[in-house]
Amino acid sequence: MSVLVDVANWMLLAAGGAFCVVGAIGLIRMPDFYTRVHAASVIETLGAGLVLLGLLLQAGWTLPAVKVLMLGLLIFFASPTATHALARAALLRGVKPLLADEGESPSKP
């Protein structure tokens, strides 16, 4: 049972770390601001969620588990709010999204 929990914990932590690194690479490589917002939100949803889930498994039914749960709730509510405020502020200040050329894309903005 304990070995099972350890293996699950290891996999969750490794996956969370991998998603964090992927999001950070996206933060570097993406071409404009709005796609970078998309890449950074991977860090805050999947990366943070998986890492905290792994820690929660390791903590068991103790006080640190409650604190980890509070951290998860904080990220769950606050990080979409911050990301939305960021994108909205950028849009209102006139940061243009990078669009495809005319004729190349059939969709209207």
Partner: protein
């Protein structure tokens, strides 16, 4: 196993800091600062389990709240040009 996660988080931190230095607009820098705050929070939580010191989780919670408030304050400043006065009209946009 915690060391692997901590190393990945440190790599994430380094890449986000690179974006904060490069970022062409101020919003890129704010985005990178937000990511740095989130990753630092995760790093504190992982360190608390790595060393068996649960006090670090409290630090992580405080850091998370500060991160949110800081991001929103910086954004408000760069959107309106001031942090707002009490009694100022709300629809001054």
């Amino acid at each position: 196993m915690y060391e692997v996660a901590a190393a990945a988080l440190l790599l994430t931190l380094a890449l986000a800091l690179t974006r904060a230095f490069l970022g062409p607009t101020v919003f890129d820098r704010a985005l990178a600062a937000n990511a740095v705050g989130t990753v630092a929070m995760l790093l504190l939580a992982v360190i608390s389990f790595m060393g068996g010191r649960p006090e670090f989780l409290d630090l992580a919670i405080v850091y998370g709240f500060l991160n949110v408030i800081g991001t929103v304050a910086v954004l408000k400043y760069f959107r309106y040009g001031s942090l707002g006065e009490p009694g100022e009209a709300e629809d001054a946009r």
